[in-house]
């Protein structure tokens, strides 16, 4: 059993990477497996610095492939284990993530997005959105929370463990280099003080000593139909639990004529923009999906249907927009886009774009 560091509400001024390490401890995570890649390194650094106090475990592996697979090993051995990665590391970790998807392993991973494709920048992007939601050679049986700042990082990292262990779909906290590296105030708390109980963990491998039949777990099937039977069951279950998992945030979206759809840190810039636009008399509002997998489709469609125009804005070339457009098929609201690939979107950027949309409405 690990020792929890935060026993009462504590206001701290931290980087996001530090917040994630504290959150994992608050969630009673017992083991981290990891490999260095910017901008997530300080998650490992903080986790390691705290080890004498937390009595948790850490292994620095030889690459992200082994970080992913050894995390799976730790989880199968019955530990609340996790990892973190970014960019090219996230790409090669798909190998392990797809195995977690197939074998319903409660895999938890923090993704701190950086620029792509390839090595690109170590700074920031939202270009791992599609990869994190749908990576691997599969169907995206994954749960993805997109955070927008340090309180989110703390709240959703704790939540990720419970979602993963309750539903047994790999669960990701999708953040980015800005959130990892920036500092802002955050309130850390003991989850119990918020009525959050950690879902108990159990071992698949080892420790039975004859108390249960031997487990043989696999990800290979002989027949096409054998595979489809399993996946149909997964899909049915994913659809059934989705309403319990879906989360979103609306900001002044009720009467919005221009609805901005953005996730993660860009949604925060959008909130600044909404306030500035409203001060100028333009009725703007925000719809921010918090879960990207699964998307909260009903409220999303309702918000889009209410608006006169939609603006998609991302630090990517429409990775979220593609996912949303599929789900709002049939609605007639025209949309425009503000995509900055691998670059931060500021409030000013959005204000200017919405002003131009008001002058010259979108037609698509």
């Amino acid at each position: 059993m690990v020792k929890k560091l935060i026993t009462q509400d504590t206001r701290m001024f931290l980087t996001g990477n530090e917040v994630i390490a504290y959150a994992a401890n608050a969630a009673e995570a017992e083991f981290m497996y990891g490999y260095p890649i910017t901008p997530q390194n300080e998650i490992m650094h903080t986790w390691c610095k705290l080890l004498p106090k937390t009595e948790a475990g850490f292994l620095q592996t030889e690459d992200e492939i082994s970080a992913g697979f050894s995390t799976i090993g730790g989880i199968l051995a019955g530990k609340r284990a996790f990892t973190a990665t970014a960019g090219p590391g996230n790409v090669i970790m798909q190998d392990a993530q797809s195995m977690a998807e197939m074998m319903r392993i409660p895999f938890v991973c923090a993704v701190m997005q950086r620029g792509g494709p390839s090595t690109a920048t170590v700074i920031y992007a939202q270009q791992e959105t599609r990869l994190t939601c749908f990576g691997g050679n599969g169907e995206g049986f994954r749960i993805v929370y997109s955070t927008a700042g340090h309180q989110d990082l703390y709240d959703y990292m704790i939540k990720a463990f419970n979602t993963a262990w309750k539903y047994r779909f790999p669960t990701f906290m999708l953040a980015d280099g800005y959130q990892g590296k920036m500092r802002e105030p955050v309130t850390l708390y003991d989850p119990a003080s918020r009525g959050i109980k950690m879902v108990p963990v159990e071992a698949t491998l080892g420790g039975a000593n004859g108390s249960r039949p031997v487990n043989h777990v696999r990800n290979t099937f002989n027949l096409e139909e054998e595979l489809m039977e399993v996946l149909d069951k997964y899909q049915e279950e994913f659809d059934r639990i989705s309403p319990e998992i879906e989360e979103y945030l609306e900001y002044k979206a009720d009467d919005a004529e221009v609805l901005i759809i953005a996730h993660g840190i860009v949604a925060r810039s959008a909130m600044t923009a909404v306030d500035e636009l409203r001060a100028k008399g333009i009725k703007a509002g925000l719809f921010r999906p918090i879960t990207l997998r699964p998307l909260a489709v009903k409220p999303l469609r309702a918000a889009v249907a209410r608006a006169k125009q939609v603006l998609f804005t991302e630090s990517a070339n429409g990775q979220l927009a593609q996912m949303v457009l599929e789900k709002i098929y049939g609605l007639q609201t025209p949309y425009s886009t503000l995509f900055k690939m691998g670059v931060g979107v500021t409030g000013d950027d959005i204000v200017q774009k919405v002003e131009s949309m008001v002058k010259e409405p979108a037609t698509v």
Binding site: E30, F31, Y33, G57, L59, T61, E62, D63, I65, S66, A67, G68, F69, S70, T71, I72, G73, G74, L76, A77, G78, K79, A81, D95, A96, M99, A203, T204, L205, G206, G207, A208, N209, G210, V214, N215, H216, V217, R218, N219, T220
Partner: protein, 251 residues
């Protein structure tokens, strides 16, 4: 004969009685290696502690062969899964089972780093000098001149390099105070069991063990019994069968 049938085959406790006949091809070495491993687990009474992981390739067919908790992983990834298990629960005895492709090609970085870090597990590489499940392509250990689907005119070492010697490589980097590194062969199962015994004891003591087992693949080799045996003997001349590293105090 009748008496034998009534008694049934003598299976090790660590072997899964429900699987019945081996799923491997006729004459395959995997069944011999796994049976010997199961007997060793019984004799050392590691049945409750053992956790078995198998790779992709023919080794994956062992996913329900053993009567111990088992995970079948991805190609080359059995080593990190199993050291992930034993890092999380050091009381367990982890066994990662793979072929020469999984151990020495696609998973070689895991093998090297597990050896360097003295990860607490036994890695078994069944070396049959080719990729069996995918139809007999060249592997890192394919012998000079050996015909495979991707070296149909025989392996030309000038073009493809020389065969990889796994045990020698691991021996050169393993910590002599924590490791057991050996090469054995299915030509002598009694000796193989003695090798597995030392390897598993060492893992139970917290150490790192590596055993490369020279094995046979008559189907892809396209050899009959006599030819298969001869090929195995040729391999034993090329790949030295011995204990390379043995920590002090290990018997």
């Amino acid at each position: 004969m009748i008496e034998m049938l009534e008694k049934g085959p003598r299976l090790a406790k660590a072997q899964n009685a429900e699987v019945g006949a081996s799923k491997f091809c006729p004459g395959c070495g995997h069944g011999m290696i796994l049976k010997t491993l199961a007997q060793t687990i019984d004799e050392l009474e590691l049945n409750d502690k053992a956790v078995f992981g198998c790779d992709i390739g023919c080794s994956l067919l062992s996913w329900n062969y053993m009567n111990v908790d088992t995970v079948q992983t991805h190609h080359g990834r059995t080593t990190p899964v199993i050291y992930g298990v034993t890092r999380a629960n050091p009381d367990l005895v982890g066994i990662a089972y793979m072929g020469d492709g999984g151990g020495l090609a696609i998973g070689s970085q895991h093998l090297v780093n597990a050896a360097v870090r003295s990860e607490n597990l036994l890695i078994i590489v069944a070396n049959n000098t080719n990729y069996g499940m995918t139809g007999g392509q060249m592997s890192p250990t394919t012998m000079p001149g050996q015909k495979t689907e991707t070296t149909p005119y025989g392996r030309d070492c000038d073009v493809t390099g020389r065969p990889a010697k796994g045990a020698e490589m691991v021996a050169s980097i393993a910590d002599p105070e924590k490791s057991f590194v050996a090469r054995a062969s299915v030509s002598n199962l009694r000796k193989l069991k003695a090798t597995f015994k030392k390897a598993l004891k060492n893992v139970d003591m917290g150490g790192f063990s590596f055993v490369e087992v020279l094995s046979v693949c008559p189907l892809n080799w396209r050899t009959n019994n006599v030819q298969t045996w001869d090929r195995l003997k040729t391999m034993e001349e090329f790949f030295e069968v011995k204990d390379f590293v043995q920590r002090e105090g290990l018997e």
